[in-house]
Symmetry: C2
Subunit: 568 residues, 2 copies
């Protein structure tokens, strides 16, 4: 079913899913709905844009790492298609309510702030009341008190209320902590433009989505789980989390350091995944180096970062944040990074774009690299909505334009994640060409066994990664679940066929991925994004990155041809 | 001849003009050079962009109102083609030196600031020295002391030095006052990125451009002058200046008032052209309601605005500034507007974009409408380069994005001039479709005898106006010279044929205009600008404008077809 909510008239409908949408979910379904219903040239913060929640095709059965929620709309940050997915409980509850998508539409300008309550008995609007203006953590506590501890939530913080262009939408993890963020592309500002502080998903009375062949499903589930557990990566991510990649990235000379000015950090050992694990094991108390964000996840790549007193500072502390708010700012202290992370989360901001923006601000002289206290003060500017704070909260690209800094790490207005594309060129190709803008989940290549400095072959590498990721995002599968599906594509085939009664093949991941990318590219074209936007910033093609001395030199013509085989 | 300066290597060359460029000048030549030499997707503030000075085809003979200088490059504000022309003496001196274009190129990042000195003996670089950091007025005084009172100057103020995206380039008028501004599109930031504080044009040893048939030229000049003087408009503009249109614009309900929230101003009589003339006549002293910015101009639409003591506050005070920094800010006091204008000029900023940005800031609560003192304080923020000041100096579009204001009057990132497009729809079509972005010189339609509220026929009206204006800008002719050429197209034909030995017809204005628009559109397409960018802001299609209640309702499909007949 599709629930459609009009925030202007405070009305809603629940209708069967269109036949054409049935075989899509998550990221792919969002692209389809945008193409079908949202004028691509519309004002992202205006009447015509829509905010869409769509669980992926696999969501609803607590399959390990496959209950992700996709949130999307036309991006207020990039002006193009946007999907930003997260773990936690929102996807599971939405699927349990039998909803293929929640579509929020209409004009809310000047209206009072609302909380949207969605349950098996329908939809209701309630006043946001005292929740308005609260940080993410207090908002979640307030809402869990008001609606009970069993609901799922999607909410915005002060950043979303203020309409800051890198505001995200925050979901609860399986333990009720507001820590899973649909962070990228400003969807929190879009939610704010609809005057919704939070959406409460009450799963009471819901049930697991039906299975066409339960026996076959169980068998496929078992095969997937075995394949996943057999992967060496699963153990690495369980022990070190995403932070495990920091050492590798540094070895390649691709870690963002002091405003992407070099690729290796002298103090890497103080912030790498190995150190993170050691610290958390030593600290005990609430500290947990291996935490699951979704029920049933066997990978448990998340963590709980606690201080010396064993009390939580933030959960989780991820590689991208360590890279962008740590080494990128010259900060080599995990406790300091965790505190910055906490404040960014509480504001409801994307730590990638915020960290990149702070790196730009440092180039403009507003912050010394390494000065975590000053960085915290700048985050307070965001909270108070000062012009500087608003600017930082609008991300690296705008911060650079306004502060007169050319060395901005961004594509399509969205900040690069923590891989310098000069030293990991396949990821650079993804940054340049992904319909999502520079993104850490659109197709990374660091683990490919290639010479990352050689421009040859990177387009092919990126294409494969982008297709796979678009596929996972359409399934609602975590990238780390992908290790299992890569080893056992027949398990994925069987899961879908057993659940839906389809007859897809083992290439279904790629079929879905290609389809999703085609839809997204079509929306972007209509929105006015084209080849000129599929480029890394010019300075990255000119300025050599120490210590490798690399520049980004994948030819533009190759970038322009990346999607040819998908689109013809 | 073409002079080409490399700011990175501090070298220069002087070469004959390419044959393909011979029949172009001013705006048309700039578009041609950009297409031929500047990668359209380049970073506007990077190595590959070029800053171009090109006098129009008629420049050099003190033909009334036909000595304008065109300045251009890829716009740091719009990301597209940009030409911004001005009166004053730069064009005349450049033509006297026999130069068809001055092209400034190369990478100057991190280099010391320079003054470029151009004379008949060549080009030299000199240290900017004490001039750096000075306001426009002090800079001009310093440069006139250093280089003598007979040079022409093109210089930037603090805004250009800071790289603010609406910084302009300032030229001297015939009396040596730095008052003629190539204001739009951020060319001052481009000049700043080349680390040039000023360009000194020493005309000593120059001579008037050669005439192929001096007798025929004199005859044509006489015919043009007679036609011009016979036009009723000439007298109106001499008496009231551009401010004469304020009353008319207000009558149509198209004056921007308090952030484009209504189209008529209760206090219109206090700021209209009639009042301006009366005040200036009454004040005497340096006040002058009818001042020529270029030698030989018989229209004299400029003015010198003096205070009650007869001393100059600013020169000139134009309609666009009265509209954007006056009624748009709810300020009904000509003295206050003149002071704001002075400070904006001294900073070297575009008063249109700055006024629009202040209107946006007022919507965000940073300024009360009508509070001129607060507006002045905000301009001091610009001077001090605070984040808020920099933001305002980056124009209305960025200010709106960062401050979370949707009601921003801008197209392609550039602010609308002082005609609300909902009530003057032909001008709205020009704003939407001009390759230059919303612009006050790209094709106004207010004086056409049509129903400005009726969407029908506006595309045709705008097309004609855009073609004519692109033609005038290629000739170096002031829009007001156009009244003469419109009445005597054969005079224009004869002027060109007599000067160059060509055999053009009476349709030469349109031939040039069409060609220029085609070139500009081609550059924009390559830069990634397309139909999605040829739109007015969405809110102007939804929000009715009092008192007419008009919205902008020219169909998008008509906008998209505007250039069809030019391009096929």
């Amino acid at each position: 079913m599709i629930v459609r909510v009009d925030v202007g008239h405070q009305t809603w409908t629940k209708t069967p899913c269109l036949d054409e949408w049935q075989r899509l979910g998550g990221r792919g379904l969002i692209a389809r709905i945008l193409l079908d219903e949202v004028p691509a040239t519309c004002d992202p913060l205006g009447r015509q844009n829509k905010l869409i929640f769509a669980p992926g095709l696999l969501v609803g059965h607590m399959l390990s790492s496959c209950d992700r929620i996709s949130v999307g709309g036309k991006s207020p940050l990039t002006g193009g298609v946007k999907e930003s997915n997260a773990g936690g409980t929102t996807g599971l509850v939405l699927a349990g309510l039998g909803l293929k998508a929640l579509i929020i539409e209409g004009q809310a300008q000047g209206m009072d702030w609302q909380i949207l309550h969605i349950s098996s008995s329908g939809v209701r609007f309630e006043s946001a009341g005292d929740c308005l203006g609260l940080g993410v953590y207090d908002s979640a506590a307030y809402l869990r008190q008001r609606y009970g501890n069993r609901v799922a939530l999607a909410l915005i913080g002060p950043a979303g209320e203020m309409g800051l262009l890198t505001a995200g939408i925050v979901h609860l993890d399986k333990d009720g902590v507001p820590s899973r963020i649909s962070a990228r592309g400003g969807l929190g500002a879009l939610m704010g433009s609809k005057r919704l502080k939070a959406i409460v998903f009450d799963g009471e009375g819901g049930s697991r989505p039906p299975l066409q062949d339960a026996t076959a499903y169980r068998a496929a589930q078992k095969a997937f789980l075995e394949a996943l557990l057999a992967q060496p990566q699963t153990k690495i991510y369980r022990e070190l989390g995403t932070a495990g990649v920091a050492t590798l990235s540094n070895q390649f000379g691709a870690l963002p350091v002091c405003g992407f000015s070099r690729g290796q950090f002298e103090q890497i050992e103080q912030i790498a995944g190995e150190q993170l694990r050691e610290v958390l094991l030593a600290r005990g108390g609430e500290a947990d180096p291996s935490h699951a964000c979704m029920a049933g996840c066997v990978i448990r790549s998340s963590n709980v970062f606690a201080g010396a007193d064993g009390r939580t500072i933030v959960s989780p502390l991820e590689y991208e944040t360590i890279g962008l708010m740590g080494s990128n700012l010259g900060i080599a202290d995990l406790d300091a990074i965790a505190r910055l992370n906490y404040v960014a989360n509480d504001l409801g901001l994307d730590t990638i774009d915020l960290g990149a923006a702070l790196g730009v601000a440092a180039q403009a002289g507003l912050l010394n690299f390494g000065d975590a206290e000053r960085a915290l003060m700048l985050l307070e500017e965001v909270r108070h909505g000062t012009p500087l704070g608003r600017l930082l909260g609008c991300g690296a690209a705008l911060t650079g334009r306004v502060l007169g800094v050319r060395r901005v790490p961004a594509v399509k207005g969205q900040a690069l994640s923590a891989y310098d594309p000069r030293a990991i060129k396949g990821t650079g190709v993804t940054y340049a060409t992904s319909p999502q803008g520079a993104d850490h989940t659109a197709g990374l290549t660091i683990r490919a066994k290639v010479d990352h400095l050689n421009p040859q072959g990177q387009v092919t590498l990126s294409r494969t990664a982008q297709i796979n990721m678009a596929g996972y995002d359409t399934l609602g599968a975590c990238i780390f679940a992908g290790f299992g599906f890569a080893a056992a594509p027949e398990a994925l085939r069987d899961l879908l066929n057993a659940r839906y009664g389809w007859q897809v093949g083992t290439d279904i991941l790629q079929v879905l991925g290609r389809q999703t990318l085609r839809l997204e590219r079509a929306f972007n074209r209509a929105a006015g994004l084209g080849r000129a936007d599929d480029r890394l910033p010019e300075w990255m093609t000119e300025e050599a990155l120490p210590p490798t001395g690399a520049v980004f030199d994948v030819p533009a013509a190759e970038l322009d041809g990346l999607f040819d085989e998908i689109e013809t």
